[in-house]
Assembly symmetry: C2
Homo-oligomer: 247 residues x 2
DNA sequence: CCAAAAGTGTTCGGACTACACCCATGT
DNA sequence: ACATGGGTGTAGTCCGAACACTTTTGG
């Protein structure tokens, strides 16, 4: 693996969030032979846009493309390196001796977060340094490398703030869903209960839901209406928010 | 100048904003022998926190410390380098041949912005590559290097958004000021008129202003009350905002 | 006295909150 | 029938937008 193709000092970490069993989950890699987990990350090729490098990480781990991916913060503490971990991995033969210096260097890491539909990620892909790639509940994180716990925390804070000004759900929910399901997503992200009736009104007011005319049967209660996102309107609402601060 | 003390590939650009003559101004450096301007920037020492490096840039150019300085975005396009400009500067003897490679490399630049009190910056300091360091009105920018125009634009957008949830003015106004003066600052940042009465009510509701009991005399109209910021309350309001997304 | 701009109060409407009620579904 | 949770309506409250009047200052 030739490290000379990458920009030194710069890394990318992706907080890939999915929603399952009414829980927010983040995609993590378990480092071989160690009880330490890490965010999927990567480096930037010499002639590659930073955002593209992030997109490539997402693609590599999940197979997904065209997903909402957003830079949210840079992590640049002086002690952001992992000498001990790298030494151990070299000793275990996981990393070749030749790449010790590369991985042990200090990185400035750009944090990105993505929202993906859990079900569409068939088989998360570990890399050669990791023995597992799993969805881990956000509120039950294992020991993480360096500051990755903090990175996840910051991603979650960012997500909560975004929720106040933008609809969220496309990419995070299946194609078809009910309003109660969408509400469960919101409640999970915000970590608090919302009023059913007010939520419905607010979300319908966005004008981004399409009534499919179908209902979700099977439960021991009134069958809720199944909706789809009106993707054009959805994108327009997002764009309106982003535009809000034109120069 | 030994470049081996710095992290490669990573740079910092600071959008230092001041307020004067009812205009927002940004501190720019004019590159020697060229009609191109640049944001004050710098690099990160090998064992220096990223945020500290940004603070150092601010200190170096303005002499100011303990100023609100915030990371707002990373600029990582693949073509973010300045080969032609560097070649010209080396040819002109401004940059030593030995540092050509350093300055011509591709940088991932972390954007910071700062709000400073115009009057407190006595004499902005140019560096050895620049022949001037001046306050330039934000809506009358000269030709800028690489993507620095875009960086300033993004900083302004960020500032406008911050304004919606936080008070701004400490660091940007003199110690004593009137509410109409504070309103002029807001109107300049937001680039639109605000209602006098609603503005007054809203800003007083924050509880961060102290009536000094004095009035600004001299104008041909009723003398406005002079206020000071209640700095403790001000910081608390800011902290409350930042805390708002606790895990 | 007059122009100019500061200080004060009131009203209106929209958005969010907090509720109570009815309806459909599976057991 | 009944427990469960979905769909609908309504009154109260808060906040911001819009606007009219009075007060103070210098000329």
């Amino acid at each position: 693996m030739d490290r000379s193709n990458y920009l030194p000092s710069v890394s990318i970490d992706c907080v890939i969030l999915g929603f399952h069993d009414n829980e927010l989950r983040v995609l993590l890699l378990k480092i071989k032979n160690l009880n330490i987990w890490a965010l999927p990350g990567g480096f930037v090729e010499l002639s590659q846009d930073l955002d593209l490098a992030a997109t490539a990480v997402l693609k590599r781990r999940t197979g997904l493309e065209d997903i909402f991916l957003k830079q949210f913060k840079v992590f640049g503490a002086a002690d952001r390196n992992q000498v001990e971990t790298v030494d151990k991995m070299v000793a275990d033969g996981i990393l070749p001796e030749a790449s010790r210096a590369w991985f042990a260097q200090r990185f400035i890491s750009v944090g990105y977060y993505a929202l993906v539909e859990y079900a569409e990620v068939i088989k998360p892909q570990p890399d050669f340094t990791s023995e597992a790639c799993e969805w881990v509940p956000l509120n039950d994180l294992p020991p993480m490398i360096i500051d990755h716990t903090e990175i996840i925390k910051q991603a979650h804070i960012t997500l909560k703030k975004e929720l106040n000004y933008q609809p969220i759900g496309l990419n995070l929910l299946p194609d078809e869903f009910t309003i109660p399901e969408l509400q469960a997503l919101y409640e999970t992200i915000l970590m608090r209960k919302l009023d059913r009736r007010n939520f419905r009104r607010k979300i319908l007011a966005y004008g981004i839901l399409i009534d499919t005319g179908q209902r979700r049967m099977g439960a021991q209660n009134r069958a809720p209406i199944i909706y789809k996102f009106n993707k054009e309107e959805y994108q327009q609402v997002l764009a309106r928010e982003l535009e809000s601060g034109i120069f």
